[in-house]
Symmetry: C2
Subunit: 461 residues, 2 copies
Amino acid sequence: YEYDRPLMKTQVPGPRSKELTKQMGQIQNNTAINFFCNYEESRGNFLVDVDGNRMLDVYTQIASIPIGYNHPALLKVVSDPNNASAFVNRPALGILPPESFVNKLTEGLLTVAPKGLNRVQNMACGSCSNENAFKAMFIWYRNKERGTSIPSDADLSSCMINQTPGCPELSILSFSGAFHGRTMGCLATTHSKPIHKLDVPSFDWPIAPFPRLQYPLDEHVRENAQEEARCLEETEDLIVKWRHKGMPVAGVVIEPIQAEGGDNHASAAFFISLRKIASKHGCAFHVDEVQTGGGATGRFWAHEHWGAEDPADIVSFSKKLLTGGFFYRDEMETDKPYRIFNTWMGDPSKNLLLAEVLNVIRQENLLAEVTRTGKALLGGLYELQAKYPNLLSRARGQGTFCAIDICKASVRDKLILQARDNGVILGGCGDLSIRFRPALIFKEHHVHMFLNVFSDLLAAH
Amino acid sequence: YEYDRPLMKTQVPGPRSKELTKQMGQIQNNTAINFFCNYEESRGNFLVDVDGNRMLDVYTQIASIPIGYNHPALLKVVSDPNNASAFVNRPALGILPPESFVNKLTEGLLTVAPKGLNRVQNMACGSCSNENAFKAMFIWYRNKERGTSIPSDADLSSCMINQTPGCPELSILSFSGAFHGRTMGCLATTHSKPIHKLDVPSFDWPIAPFPRLQYPLDEHVRENAQEEARCLEETEDLIVKWRHKGMPVAGVVIEPIQAEGGDNHASAAFFISLRKIASKHGCAFHVDEVQTGGGATGRFWAHEHWGAEDPADIVSFSKKLLTGGFFYRDEMETDKPYRIFNTWMGDPSKNLLLAEVLNVIRQENLLAEVTRTGKALLGGLYELQAKYPNLLSRARGQGTFCAIDICKASVRDKLILQARDNGVILGGCGDLSIRFRPALIFKEHHVHMFLNVFSDLLAAH
Ligand code: FES
């Protein structure tokens, strides 16, 4: 059902996109708009815009489209009259769930539960998933400190006015270059770009260095191990330091691959050691898989590549999973109602679509496909960087979750625009990187379509 | 298409609900679950549960169902094949909006724009709407302080590590008893119940007293005016005090009727004076209409009852509007991309449904209907409280957005359960109140259905 190639009619944005963008400027900030889309006409890996341009999409709505546009299996879910009620009657899931919801969780999210995490809390987006994961860690930590889940009278009265001990001086340790969302709790752990954080009050929480590795990883094992050891040591120092400051670290949050921050990888050994350090100091360990989860690394979760028996206490997700939420260990469960709560607590219509996405992933064996496609993609990037060493460097990736650095930000930005005018949608991340975030149905011939366009642009540079 | 009355087969929760609740306990915290629902069989004002009980719903999923269950107009939106794409291709709205989105905003949200607020930012739920409204106020305030929207080098570098001046010491002033959401920024302005806030770190932001009025308002004009004057004075003192503390108030946030906190009303004069005090001290004025917006007070926005020419700088919404977001004045616009931003920025499929909800509200003249129904409801409550002065007090409301206090929390909680077993779903709020939150299609005969059940219970007490 898919298109076989890009088809360009105008530069992007074309006249119709420009007109609509102008109109949007009358209503809200329009400065981030790339172009307007014709989603009805988009298919599989190809995004069609309002000027009739058809582009190979290697960015997929900031990595949030799991199996391409208008997948027939998903269209069938929506057209099934039995499902209509789920789309028009959005319940308050925490108090009045639909009959089918237990089954939807059991046959859906729980089939992809990370090792050791038997429980899952549904949420609606990456930010509320992380905010509530943080809250779960704070609650767990305070119950541990108190030795009971029963709050004191001082806890109960002081929390109502934002004061200690009820609103405790606790922190979440995050990493330089991290991105965990933009609501105020999440934002205090986000350190990607100034524009994300500027002018918003924050918490004085510890920020550890994320390893800055050399690529390919297997050619720099010794230096990289040293760099990771340095970061681990500093992390442990910060945990101790913040405890002495009177603001203990309740949880450590980290992405298995830092995405917005520039596609920064670290070794399995690093993450496993970090998890041990967190446990040693009584901190919960939260792996944020909002961007990495859902199969793009060739495993359903990026942390599966660590091969750890006990990878995390909490794993949060959203984007490709269409809903949000977090998996958690039994010990992280709250014992009282209304602590982890909001009106909607997710949206069952998204769980319906997710169940179908998971079926397609299994039926079409998409994780193995991603691994194969990813090899072709990374291989192609290695070749190009060997050919253009002054332009390209640091090709890296897992599955199709790949990136490459360009010599200068201005060159990077120009290449992205040129690629788009030639029918390929790419995204940037960090200061110098292009990130690749295709859907799970991106195949080797799509890789070659991209490589052809990209190498022509590099040759002409 | 609606049912004509409740029909009860078991106590609630019935055996099937109990079984499912037990199963849910294996997956996540199940302690807030009331019962499981059969949304397919629910119609209009009647919610059907999995044990075949059919109940008149006067709580509507925490006030989030605008025009009842399975409204034919909404079912039509979902079954229209032209809309399927909107349900399966969720875009990153901030960068790649669909062609129809400008129209959807113009024909949808903008037709209900509050006075003076020409711009609207779409978001996904009440929490991200308020979090981003807060961010917009912080950004606006800092630009004013700097005299330019261009950040200094110190701003840019310090914000990356959560430090001043980039992450400034600014505050949002909120009110005792307020509820603005549960993500960490929102939660710092929420002061409804300890369980909402306990164990979560917070900001040292000012909390002003919300007037504690006597009802009916028109019989206590003088005392209420005194109480409001006291609260206004204290609010102004707090604004000054926090400025001297070095943590100026960037914005004041308030609900037109405090909902979760116990359905606390204040006069139009109070809100208009408060808005003036905010302006006088250079603070933005944010009216949170997440629960009050959408018509339940008999006006589309509760703040319309103030009759103010210039009611607010920001008005946030969600719940009955199905999507989230906030309206704002031109001056509150950010000048740069990616400041108010996240992956999804809402969900166009919700805007589709909202447009239809707004059509139904107009076609069926539902705001006038709500006013009529609300009079019958409040009249009935007045009668009951005259008859049972030891049990009931403080009947109050605007439109169908009504509440009444019960002498003791335990009696309140018992009455809610008894009403449910007799086919009427009610919700509590605050310490002693029952709140009424029917859909906009709740008619006078539904009021009488409720009153019959309720007065029988009171008589038997
Ligand atoms: S914060 Fe996640 S949907 Fe609003």
